[in-house]
């Protein structure tokens, strides 16, 4: 074994159960982990997204089925669950897109200061949650 091939020591100081709940993540860190979580949500719900695309564009009949899925439900799934899944997708999409645009901006403008990292992270959270609330209110028929 060469010197390089030796097993390097691993330091795992973070325990997911005892450390993470009390870990004070900065705003940029929250945006970062939510970027990953929102991406994972969209990946898992991908068949639902394609199903919504399919039923909404294929025919008048399937369009009616698409609409009623949000009110009376579809199969064994009640309408409220469909709405909540749609709400999760709305948030995931908005957060992922806005956080992604923040990344692109930072890449293009070399905006890598600590202050910009924090302020842009706060803007990302406010925008994504605000738009989710606005669209969610529409989804649940509040206006």
């Amino acid at each position: 074994m060469t010197e390089l091939a030796k097993k390097r020591p691993e330091f795992r100081n973070i325990n997911a159960l005892t450390d993470l709940p009390t870990y004070r993540l900065p705003a940029a860190g929250i945006v970062s982990i939510l970027h990953r979580i929102s991406g994972a949500i969209m990946f898992v719900l991908l068949p639902l997204i394609v199903w919504m695309f399919d039923t909404s564009v294929s025919s008048e009949i399937s369009f009616a089925k698409f609409k009623s899925a949000f009110t009376v439900g579809i199969g064994f799934v009640p309408g409220i669950i469909v709405k909540l899944a749609a709400l999760a997708l709305i948030w995931a999409y908005l957060h992922h897109m806005i956080a992604g645009l923040r990344h692109l901006y930072m890449d293009m403008c070399h905006a890598v200061s600590k202050e910009f990292g924090k302020s842009s992270a706060v803007v990302t959270l406010v925008l994504s949650l605000g738009l989710t609330a606005a669209l969610g209110a529409k989804l649940f028929g509040l206006y």
Partner: protein, 121 residues
């Protein structure tokens, strides 16, 4: 295969870091633009959007071609992103391979379905 740069550092891993890094950003930018293209057509429609207007957005040939390209960009983007998640959190090689194969099947299946919906429109 590992390549040595200098005397101490062994570079291991996927070996296509820059390509995927760039592809992730290019596909993301394309999807944002596509979002605004669809959004503009929805917002510029007068009156309530029923089936005809909604399906009409995707029925023109240029929109089909564009949407098709975005589907491909989407699949590549998701592949890079989900693969990164597995590489970060799943260390046993066997489990990681299973999850990566599952990701490919999941993605290709959904992609095929979406393309079928699009081109029969």
């Amino acid at each position: 295969m590992s390549v040595n740069y200098g005397s101490k550092r062994v570079v291991v891993g996927a070996h296509y870091g820059f390509r995927d890094w760039l592809a992730q950003r290019v596909t993301a930018a394309l999807m944002v633009l596509f979002t605004f293209v669809v959004l503009a057509q929805v917002l510029l429609t007068s009156g309530e959007i029923g089936y005809d207007k909604w399906a009409g957005i995707f029925s023109s040939q240029w929109m089909k071609a564009l949407t098709f390209s975005i589907f491909i960009a989407f699949a590549y983007h998701v592949w890079v992103g989900v693969r990164d998640i597995w590489m970060d959190y799943v260390k046993p090689v066997g489990v990681r391979l299973v999850l990566q194969v599952f990701t490919m099947v999941w993605l290709v299946a959904c992609l095929g379905w979406a393309i079928q919906v699009l081109w029969r429109l």
